[in-house]
């Protein structure tokens, strides 16, 4: 009996929320709270997805947060990560897992194929915003771009449009940031099979991203002032290996071409 009446009440309250748009924030919050409490009277069976998240959060809270009060106290006030990491969205390559980054250590961008587009004020504001914030506000010291094996994004870059497949709405536009890597790999490794070419492209695309990083004026400035280092990484989860390298850029001293003592008549 109680179930039915509270279910009815929940439905009516939800209807109120839907229909009365002029309700102010306070009233809305109170109604939502009522709904939660009513639901709590006869809790619905927990969805497996929710259970997964409850378990994950509880583990973190008990084994990490509660055991490091000074750290989390400090982090609540602000962050000062030494690393900025670009990694792929692939579920298998979270840098927090494979490189054990704890909260506060790495400012982390994750996108398809871990790409950094070149500086462009009209587009790619998403990546631009992360770099702007990381360099100017957080003053990170290292930017690490991590590629990985069997990357779906790179595979798409290498496949399309030659495979004649229909274009995606957004994916193709994004992965074409790595087009120069594809061209380079196809030229240098034309005899290799597709899988090997993809692997080369996964690594070459990291280099492409590192080069693109330098097109951001604040990145370039901090590198020149020796406050920032650019690193490339490659996680191969098939063989269980990690490659790590540095991007170095060297400007030589000028050589003066002498004007005197040379026969200028040719």
């Amino acid at each position: 009996m109680a179930n039915q009446s509270s279910e009815l009440a929940i439905e009516q309250l939800k209807k109120l929320l839907r229909e009365k748009e002029e309700l102010n924030g306070v009233a809305t919050a109170k109604i939502e709270q009522l709904i939660v409490e009513l639901q709590g009277c006869h809790p619905n069976p927990i969805e497996p997805a929710d259970q997964r998240i409850i378990d994950g959060f509880t583990y973190f809270k008990l084994n990490n947060f509660n055991k490091n009060p000074e750290l989390y106290d400090r982090l609540a006030k602000g962050q000062s990560p030494k690393f900025m990491v670009f990694a792929c969205s692939d579920s298998r390559v979270s840098p927090s897992v494979i490189l054990n980054f704890q909260p506060g250590e790495a400012f982390m961008v994750r996108n398809i194929a871990n790409m950094v587009p070149p500086f462009n004020q009209l587009r790619y504001s998403g990546v631009g915003a992360t770099l702007e914030y990381a360099i100017t506000a957080l003053k990170v010291e290292n930017i690490l771009v991590i590629g990985h094996s069997r990357c779906g994004g790179i595979s798409r870059l290498m496949n399309h449009p030659e495979d004649g497949s229909a274009p995606y709405d957004f994916i193709d536009d994004w992965v074409k940031i790595g087009l120069s890597s594809k061209v380079k790999v196809l030229k240098e490794h034309e005899r290799c099979d597709f899988k090997e070419q993809c692997k080369f492209c996964e690594m070459e695309s990291v280099n492409n991203s590192l080069v693109n990083l330098k097109t951001y004026p604040y990145v370039d400035r901090e590198i020149r002032n020796k406050n920032l280092a650019l690193l490339g990484g490659y996680y191969d989860f098939v063989s269980g290996e990690f490659k790590l390298w540095k991007y170095k850029n060297h400007v030589t001293e000028p050589v003066t071409i002498p004007l005197k003592g040379l026969d200028m008549t040719i």
Partner: protein, 302 residues
């Protein structure tokens, strides 16, 4: 007149193989501090460009050390003051390799073939809110995108990295859940709330403007609160607006209608260590400009 030149020789560095065929868990004891004899080599390459020469210095393969029955190759220290970074990253990976990768060979073997995550997570770039840490996602669990202020732009706003990831996760990986996770003290939301229309541009402004509807709503409903509390309100408001923006993608809307896909919002408060989560109630939600979003299964853990 300097001639700028750059090199990147990705394959000069040595990888860190720990060949699984020689690994024998019962007889191995890897010491916590791996001490290594370091060899340094420098590579000098001459380019065929005018009047320029460049030096490349790369980490070189150090050595091979016998350790009981396993072989460990480690990265040699690169000589120029960044040694500690290389060593730090090396240790981090080795710790993962030893404690996680080698402990679960079947799982990693099957993951190497294909990923089938149930979740797609959209989280903020903030170093304090990695979903793998706070929600315990393990390899293979969650396809993750991280951007400033965990925003989801609308379908109409054109291509971006966020919607490329959405397309892949929903249409190719066929995830069953999308979870947008916001958090306390978000710098991006703060920038959104503090933004002035003074004509100045920046990447941050151009990006966080995707959350402007949340700002408008916050100014209306929470105008009596101080700025910090307004930001908190906006952090949560913005999550709901991102959920609505998800429905602007036809292929997402279709799957939600067919109950193949659920959309959830989450809020992590790292000051008090609490986590709230709710699910979008599609049937109840109105989708016009200022429509009310209806949620269900709201839970709060602290």
């Amino acid at each position: 007149m300097a001639i700028p030149s750059s090199i990147s020789d990705p394959f000069a560095s040595k990888s860190l193989p720990l060949s699984s065929s020689s690994y024998n868990p019962s007889r191995i004891s890897v010491p916590a501090q791996i001490t290594a004899k370091i060899e340094q080599t420098h590579l000098t390459a001459l380019r065929r460009s005018q009047c320029s020469s460049l030096k490349a210095s790369m980490g070189s393969p150090g050595f091979t050390q016998q350790l009981n029955n396993s072989k460990l190759d480690t990265l040699a220290e690169v000589k120029d003051g960044r040694d500690d970074i290389f060593n730090d990253l090396k240790d981090r990976f080795l710790s993962f390799k030893k404690n996680v990768y080698m402990e679960n060979p079947e799982q990693f073997e099957s993951l190497a073939k294909v990923q089938t995550p149930k979740f797609m997570v959209i989280a903020c770039v903030d170093s304090r809110v990695c979903p793998s840490n706070i929600l315990g996602f393990q390899p293979g669990d969650a396809f993750t995108i991280r951007n400033v202020a965990n925003l989801v732009p609308t379908f109409e706003s054109g291509p971006s990295e966020t919607n490329a990831a959405l397309e892949f996760a929903v249409n190719t990986l066929l995830v069953e859940n999308i979870l947008v996770v916001g958090h306390s003290c978000c710098g991006g939301i703060r920038a959104l709330m503090g933004m002035q229309d003074d004509g100045s541009t920046s990447f941050i402004k151009s990006w966080v403007i995707h959350g402007k509807n949340a700002k408008v709503k916050t100014k209306v409903f929470a105008s009596n609160l101080d700025f910090d509390h307004q930001c908190t309100h906006c952090e949560k408001e913005s999550i709901n607006h991102s959920l609505v923006n998800l429905l602007s993608y036809p292929w997402i809307k279709e799957k939600v209608e067919n109950e193949e896909l659920s959309i959830h919002g989450g809020y992590y408060d790292f000051v008090n260590c609490s986590f709230e989560k709710w699910t979008l109630d599609y049937r109840g939600t109105k989708l016009e400009e200022n429509g009310r979003i209806v949620t269900k299964n709201k839970v709060f853990w602290s």
